[in-house]
């Protein structure tokens, strides 16, 4: 059975000007061990698809018109808030775009990580290596140990000392690693990464991509990677879905889609990426298409 199965997802958003349909029937199936890339321009609905999976779209203004999101045999759209809280952080991990705004500047890294570890531990003490009837003190201790292990795993040198640092003492790449550690601490089955490397340098981006790749290989999890960078998709994704104005235009194994795109839009997107081989005058925008999209 698939890890995540999105069928005909339709989402509308309410504003002063009335209700606008944002997602027009998204179908997506993610198996364990797959890294799905979701590409598209700003406003194409890729982030909202990601947020829908963890049910982080407030309602109102959001409203689901139709569709199901099956995760581990449960329809997430019908799950209670209580069930969702148990899933988030434990079974579904999320990484967001901007590492500078997603860590609380007034709390130590450790405090924030241990918080997540404790939350996951309350749901399932085995994550912290404890039995059900462990004491609070033992939980806290184990949570801190798990947090240090996770920081170490994502490549923060001298993790046991740095866990007591504040976010401003970390560089952008390190902060993104902390966020990945935070997402992975509950040992999730599905990781949703919304533009995890957009705010980072290429050299750091390469390290973060390697990290995500290794985590998938090691834990056999599924990943939904939302990005507008086709280079990143080509690098680590096994599958890709191209989104445009709330629809998936084309999806499939990454080689098929990027090497032999069947849709003009995919080809146009590929043509607008400057690579080290692009010569002057060869780059094509997609003026007609993108103006329509921004309208």
């Amino acid at each position: 059975m698939a890890l995540l199965d999105i069928q005909n997802l339709q989402l509308a958003m309410r504003s002063y000007e009335g209700e606008t349909q944002i997602l027009h029937g998204i179908d997506l199936t993610i198996e364990r061990g797959e890294i799905w890339g979701m590409v598209g321009e700003t406003g194409s609905g890729k982030s909202l698809t990601g947020l829908s999976v963890s049910r982080l779209i407030p309602s109102p203004p959001g409203r689901y018109l139709a569709g199901t999101i099956d995760f581990a045999g449960k329809d997430l759209l019908k799950a209670s808030d209580r069930d969702m809280r148990a899933l988030r952080g434990r079974h579904i991990g999320m990484i967001f775009q901007d590492p500078t705004t997603n860590l609380n500047p007034v709390f130590r890294i450790g405090t924030q990580l241990v918080d997540v570890a404790l939350h996951a531990g309350h749901n399932d003490p085995s994550i912290l290596g404890l039995s059900k009837d462990a004491s609070r003190g033992a939980m806290k201790k184990a949570a801190r140990k798990t947090a240090i292990e996770m920081l170490d795993k994502v490549g923060i040198p001298n993790a046991s000392a740095r866990i007591d640092d504040y976010p401003h003492q970390f560089s952008g790449g390190m902060r993104q690693r902390v966020l990945i550690a935070m997402a992975m601490v509950g040992k999730p089955d599905l990781l949703i990464a919304d533009e995890p490397t957009t705010a980072l340098d290429v050299s750091v981006q390469a390290q973060i991509l390697r990290l995500i790749h290794d985590l998938v290989a090691e834990r056999n999890i599924g990943v939904l990677l939302i990005t507008h960078n086709l280079g990143v998709v080509a690098q680590i994704c096994t599958h890709v879905a191209v989104m445009y104005r709330g629809r998936i235009l084309e999806s499939g194994p990454v080689r098929d889609v990027l090497k032999h795109p069947t849709h003009v839009y995919t080809q146009a997107l590929l043509d607008s990426v400057p690579t080290v081989h692009t010569k002057r005058g060869e780059l094509r925008g997609l003026s007609g298409l993108s103006q329509e999209a921004s309208a």
Binding site: E41, T42, S171, G172, D201, V202, S203, V204, Q205, A206, L209, R210, H213, H228, N229, L230, G231, V232, V233, A234, Q235, I236, V254, R255, L258, K259, A268, L269, L270, D271, S272, V273, P274, T275, V276, H277, T278, K279, R280, G281, L283, R284, G285, L286, S287, L289, S290, S294
Partner: protein, 271 residues
């Protein structure tokens, strides 16, 4: 027009370490020498914190230098008087990175683009009517129209805002345009359009570009000369072909390898 940057060093002061002893200071630029030719596009590549933006601030004399000289057409800009510097600024303009933050949300597009014309009224004397005509001309030049004149920045998409930023920079007919990561906040498709616009403007107006980016693909596309900067030091410079096809420095090679190519077969993860 030519821009010569010679042995520029910039050290930012640090807080005193004791009561009297001065702090160590941070060397943001370490003996940087570059030469930008008229009519060309010079690219500066480096990761965040490497000193790219500090160098642009030094060129615009928004920061003072610790050592070295920056000469614009033979005159040392850091030795000029304030009035002379203001006149010179009309000849070098900057386009900022974030089009969402660099336009005043309470000004109309007309006022935003006309502002440099008012500031530099000594260099480019114009009546109010002439200014409006010039603004319209500029908007058309960057691919916008008269219908956009009295709108506010929030009504525009990222790509359109960056076009407004470019129009504002071009208002006083500069010779040198400094572009500080002008497309890093934009989608690839929109980025492609802005880059092509920059190409066209260079052909039409004979501009010289000083282009800063951490995206090697963009640099390759826009520039003909490039310098790679790492921790305040220029590690390698030369023509674009030379650097991209035969990089000599270890760091340059690492940067080139780290750049994700949209061809899945070139990925280290797909075997």
């Amino acid at each position: 027009m030519s821009l010569e940057i010679e042995n520029v060093t910039k050290i930012f002061g640090a807080p005193r370490s004791g009561i009297i002893e001065p702090g160590q200071g941070f060397t943001a630029l370490d003996n940087v020498s570059l030469s930008v030719k008229k009519g060309g596009s010079f690219g500066l590549v480096g990761e965040s914190g490497s000193g790219k933006t500090t160098l642009t601030k030094c060129i615009l004399r928004l920061e003072s230098l610790t050592a070295g000289t920056i000469c614009f057409e033979g005159q040392d800009i850091h030795a000029l008087s304030k009035a002379d510097m203001r006149r010179l600024r009309a000849r070098m303009q900057i386009v900022f990175q974030d089009p969402y933050a660099s336009l005043n949300p309470r000004m109309t597009i007309h006022d935003i683009v006309a502002e440099p014309l008012i500031i530099h009224r000594d260099t480019v004397p114009m009546t109010a009517k002439q200014r409006t005509e010039r603004v319209v001309e500029l908007l058309v030049q960057v691919g916008l129209g008269t219908e956009h004149l009295f709108r506010y920045p929030h009504e525009f998409s990222g790509g359109q805002r960056q076009r407004i930023g470019i129009a504002r920079a071009l208002a006083v007919n500069p010779e040198l345009l400094i572009l500080d990561e002008p497309t890093s906040a934009l989608d690839v498709s929109v980025q492609a359009e802005v880059l092509n616009l920059l190409h066209r403007l260079q052909d039409e107006l004979g501009l010289t570009y000083f282009f800063i980016s951490h995206d090697l693909g963009v640099i390759r596309y826009v520039c003909d000369e490039v310098a790679v900067i790492y921790r305040g030091k220029v590690v390698e410079q030369g023509s674009v072909e030379e650097i991209f096809d035969h990089p000599k420095d270890e760091y340059t090679r690492m940067l080139l390898n780290a750049m994700p190519d949209p061809d899945p077969d070139l990925s280290p993860f797909h075997r």
